[in-house]
């Protein structure tokens, strides 16, 4: 078993490596060569590929939110504000966070396993030996694609969540359509929308950099690939939840 000092040193070195990878992925956007075709291909894989799970997550979250809220609101005779509650919850918190967690589960693991397999079969070394920078060719396109696509996936999730909430409000609770949508729309301010849409930009960056970091630091053959995949999902999910608290605090602080 490693000594506490050695373990601390290893963790510090890992944090430093992650920081360097993340910083390079941003700097590479402004340096040649740029791999636009790779970024578009990744956007298709990450964005379009994640659409079904994002739609399903948004829909059922909106529906359950509507059901749960109705249960509480009806006790106080406040059922008409259900649209307001669903829209604020979905757009400010649940939309960005749940979409990011679903995309992290699907894509951070995908990136870690793909790059991890390339690492253990010496394909990453081969790429470097052939004169190509893996951080430019593999990391930056994934970071660009995830950050860009998560923004739009969150918008879709928010919208589908509102529709899910509406379906319950209209079909189960017997609410008027206009009342629901009016309440949902009127409740929103620019700050709510801004908060809901700035979060996926950070979360997308976290998902892709964490997935790529664990993939590129894989050691130990196929077993190592499995380990990296699990670690990438766990680390990305935890980081998303932690960073969410900080962003919310900062934005609420600046709003109030």
């Amino acid at each position: 078993m490693a000594s506490p000092t050695l373990a601390l040193k290893r963790n510090m070195a890992a944090a430093q490596d992650y920081y360097i990878l993340a910083a390079k992925s941003v700097v590479n956007v402004f340096r040649r060569p740029r791999y636009i075709a790779d970024a578009i291909q990744q956007a298709d894989l990450i964005g379009v590929g994640s659409l079904p799970i994002v739609v399903l997550t948004g829909m059922f979250t909106g529906m359950v939110l509507s059901l749960q809220s109705a249960n509480t609101l009806s006790r106080f005779g406040q059922l008409p504000v259900i649209g307001q509650l669903v829209s604020l919850s979905m757009i400010r918190e649940l939309g960005p966070v749940l979409t990011s967690l679903m995309v992290a589960g699907r894509n951070a693991s995908g990136m870690a396993s793909e790059l991890g397999s390339m690492k253990v079969t010496e394909q990453i070394d081969a790429m470097r030996a052939l004169g190509t920078d893996p951080s430019k060719k593999l990391v930056t396109p994934r970071v660009m694609a995830t950050t860009f696509m998560l923004f739009f996936l969150t918008i879709i999730s928010d919208l589908v969540g509102l529709i899910g909430g509406y379906l319950i409000a209209f079909m189960v609770l017997g609410m008027d359509s206009l009342q629901y949508w009016n309440s949902a729309y009127q409740a929103l301010s620019f700050d709510d929308v801004f908060m809901g849409l700035i979060k996926p930009v950070f979360f997308g960056f976290i998902i892709s950099t964490v997935g790529c970091y664990y993939g590129l630091s894989t050691t130990g053959g196929t077993q190592g690939v499995g380990r990296s995949t699990t670690q990438a999902v766990v680390a990305a999910s935890i980081l998303i939840l932690v960073v969410n608290v900080f962003i919310t605090k900062i934005l609420l602080g600046s709003i109030r």
Binding site: T121, E122, A126, R128, A129, G131
Partner: protein
């Protein structure tokens, strides 16, 4: 890339120079102050037991890993003092064939072999033509549109050679090119390396576990007329510029020609080469 001035070492006639190079992994000293030189046009065969640091030497040449101490000069550049960005430029002059081929499994054979040319954004027609030439050299033109998963181990190794030679690099590095292959396929691979050495006069560093590969390279030449290798008849009248380097415990214990290898008295080397002990 020009050769830098003010170098104390002769980097004009020597493609690779190792000076007192040491490296360890997690406390395990793999190389402990090794020094050797690879002249331009020379083929050096690296021998040693598993874990002796043979593949590490190849990775050090490319700057894929950094030594703990010492200097490595490749084509006049001290790779130990270069940044990763500068190394990408130098690596374009070096070709490497990896132990397990390391072909990109999501790309076709064409795109694998053309990887460097695609990065340089050459016209598609020129790329196709050069890929076909390289594949013809390794006699695998029919695999043009296939994926690596559709190829046998020997074919993958040959595609790896095609990928390494497509830009006619100044140095070729082979990491156990016959490892895990049957004897007939191994002979095919060695014949290709010999062809590259004798037809294109390349400078090579070859890591091998198989002694017979080294001896075959040192005692045969490629006959361009018959398209096959031929044994050198009688004594070594033809200089094949092929030498041997043997590693033991992180040190170089032998670095000379095959003729001198036969005369060696060191008991370890004699045992390693399956020679009778000197009485």
């Amino acid at each position: 890339m020009d050769i830098p001035e003010n170098l104390l070492t002769d980097t004009v006639h020597k493609a690779i120079i190792f000076e007192d190079v040491a490296i360890s992994f997690e406390g395990n000293q793999v190389l402990n102050g090794i020094s050797f030189e690879l002249k331009r046009g020379e083929t050096k065969i690296l021998l040693g037991i598993a874990g002796a640091g043979k593949s590490t030497i190849l990775k050090l040449c490319l700057g894929l890993i950094r030594p703990d101490r010492g200097h490595i000069y490749v084509l006049g550049h001290d790779v130990t003092a270069m940044t990763e960005e500068q190394l990408f430029d130098l690596r374009s002059k070096i070709g490497i064939v990896f132990q397990e081929s390391a072909l990109f499994d999501s790309l076709t054979v064409r795109d694998n072999v053309a990887f460097r040319l695609l990065e340089e954004k050459l016209p598609e027609q020129e790329i196709d033509q050069r890929v076909r030439e390289a594949l013809r050299f390794v006699e695998l033109e029919r695999t043009f549109n296939m994926f690596p998963s559709e190829l046998s181990g020997g074919m993958r190794r040959r595609v790896g050679i095609a990928r390494a030679i497509i830009t006619q690099p100044e140095i070729l590095l082979y990491d156990s090119p016959t490892g895990g292959l049957d004897p007939i396929t191994s002979t095919t691979i060695i014949e290709l390396i010999m062809k590259q050495r004798d037809v294109n006069k390349s400078t090579s560093l070859l890591v091998s576990h198989r002694l017979q590969d080294g001896f075959m390279l040192a005692t045969h030449y490629y006959d361009a007329q018959t398209n096959h290798m031929q044994a050198i008849e009688g004594h070594i009248a033809r200089d094949l510029h092929t030498t041997f380097l043997i590693l033991k415990d992180g040190k170089v214990i032998f670095d000379a020609t095959v003729a001198e290898l036969g005369k060696v008295t060191d008991p370890y080397i004699r045992e390693f080469l399956y020679l009778e002990p000197v009485s």
